[in-house]
Symmetry: C2
Subunit: 216 residues, 2 copies
DNA sequence: TGGCATTTGTTCCTATTTTCACAAAGTATA
DNA sequence: TATACTTTGTGAAAATAGGAACAAATGCCA
């Protein structure tokens, strides 16, 4: 399959670029906390295992944000990156499947920092439905379409068992969901106007095991 | 930075190949469950969004496993892939940080299926130390080096807050850990004989948000 | 002001990854 | 056995990503 390529106004770049923007943003926020005002591409990438040229090139797809001889103004670049990534406004998301992982995510405080608000959660288990975790009410998965549509939610996390993940995906998409972060170990099929990102812990671990197993 | 490349006996391939092998294995297991005996590169990759040529080339780095005109014997290929990945023997791992995510992982049943056994967990919280979750006793993080060495554990998950992740990493490595699956949102620095794999939910979500925000 | 030191933005080149395309090998059928 | 299909394994080509290197800006200091 061709690596997914993103083109905006004749400028094309890969999703890898976008992922790196997130990393840059994370480190810039740390720098801002330390009251550092300016940073060069050299210094910021030392922390990240990315080449300075890569950093500059990634940014160049979106404009010119630095000052020659000086570097980048930390606060300004943070603002710009938040704008580019689209996290300068609030995003409301849903979580489907409130098992171990799902409930850990409902309580995860990392999201709100990035303007991501879990608005609703769904489960099939009658014992869980109606409960409130971290201010989020667990809804009957039977009401999935209705709630998603009503709340106009466009992003969802899937934390269900793999057997039902595709069915849930179909229902989410038909209700208007356009982006899915999938934790179920299964390759989901969707129309190509829906974006999927997979978090697959078994794959990551197997990769590490392979590396350890094949040293030298 | 150069993409990490793996070379075994003059044959070189990328980590991406290894990740795909995991995906192939997962789907092959599903096929085996359905009692399907043979599968062609064409059919198996239809499920996965990967090209048939890619599948064949990925396998070709490790040998010839198919039969022309027929395809691949499912059971045999599963065995081969398990061997290649190194998951035909048991891997004992540690978990550092038993917060929401850490404790979800301690209870996660997906690991044991792949010969991955969580052997020990560490936390700093006195209230958690000594507790047993899913048969795994939570140890004082002060004993980290001692336990890791005694148990000869080579792989660890890090589920701590980001501020302490680098310190924990240093201690793990000095105790003999060679592979780390990092859930903390921070870029860890290690010697290049230690392998790191990052699971970064915020990055994944930000990527989806970017895509939704820049359609058309 | 002029010269030196930095650092960006970008072009061009190199390395890597993916795909194409086809010979070789196997199956099925008459 | 001959012929028509399938499907693999792989070298070569195409596509993509990464990095070196340098002109253009900017700051600093004498």
């Amino acid at each position: 399959m061709p690596k997914s390529k993103i083109c905006i106004r004749k400028i094309c770049f890969s999703v890898e670029t976008v992922k790196r923007l997130s990393l840059y943003l994370r480190d810039l926020r740390k720098l801002a906390k330390k009251k550092i005002q300016f940073i060069s591409s050299n210094k910021i990438t030392q922390l990240l295992n990315i080449s300075p040229a890569q950093f500059r090139k990634d940014l160049s797809y979106f404009g010119e944000f630095g000052k020659r001889g000086v570097g980048y103004e930390v606060e300004k670049l943070i603002k710009k990156l938040e704008e580019i990534l689209g996290i300068n406004k609030e995003w409301r998301i849903a979580v489907v499947g409130v098992g171990r992982l799902g409930s850990a995510l409902l309580r995860f405080e990392g999201f709100s920092k990035f303007n991501i608000k879990i608005k609703t959660a769904f489960d099939i288990d009658k014992k869980k439905i109606g409960k409130v975790i971290n201010g989020i009410k667990i809804e009957d998965v039977g009401n999935l379409e209705r709630v998603i549509k009503k709340e106009k939610i466009k992003l969802s996390l899937i934390c269900t068992p793999p057997q039902v993940a595709q069915d849930i995906t179909n229902r989410l998409v038909s209700a208007g969901i356009r982006g899915i972060l999938n934790f179920a170990p299964v390759a989901l099929k969707v129309a190509n106007n829906v974006f999927i990102s997979n978090v697959d812990m078994a794959c990551e671990l197997e990769q590490l095991i392979f590396l350890l197993n094949n040293e030298r």
